[in-house]
């Protein structure tokens, strides 16, 4: 069987159910794919730490809409 792509492994990290049963069985048996999965997971976690923001967007959409209407732009 072919090895799993890094894209499939990345998707699996976010959604374990994205892997087909046969792919999951392959991953359990294949050392090369397990090592690739560990690399993908580590890189994803490092990238998330870099990409995260201190101030995730908090918004009161009703207040924003009201303000835009008061300014006459909507």
């Amino acid at each position: 069987m072919r090895h799993l792509s890094e894209g499939s492994l990345r998707w699996m990290l976010d959604d374990p159910l994205s892997l087909a049963d046969e792919d999951r069985a392959h991953l359990r048996k294949c050392r090369r794919c397990r090592e690739a999965a560990a690399r993908v997971i580590g890189d994803a976690r490092r990238a998330a730490a870099v990409f995260e923001t201190d101030h995730p967007a908090l918004a009161d959409p009703a207040a924003v809409l009201r303000a835009l209407r008061e300014r006459g732009v909507i």
Partner: protein
Amino acid sequence: MEDDFESLFLAEYPRVLSIAQRILRNHGEAERVAGEVMVAFRREHSINPNDSAVRLHRAAVETALRRSRSRGGQGKLRKGSGPGGVEESQAVREALARMPAAGAAVLALRASRLTYAETAAVLGVEVQQVGSLLRRAELRLLKEVNA
């Protein structure tokens, strides 16, 4: 019609703002972009339950990236704009501006909690491609910021 737009605005403005903020790394600038995106949508599109959200998210990505690239990452970032402070936030913004648009987009969309299917719809790709795009984008980001 107006009720439809209001419902769309209330449902989608937070994610439009989040997408813009992930790319611009600056809350004030992201708020301006999010407002522009919503106003432009109101003027140019009718509400379609099937694709209005996709159009808004795509416009948020495109407008924020255009803004970031046109200013060469020179937007004023305040202290505390990112976990590592202003310098790291500026580095991430500049990295995103240098990356292929799809790479910057997939990072911003997923960080804004869009699903793989939603992300694929915004990018105009098959859902099976999102993992590969995300993997490449993460590697490029790490390389760009030397993490």
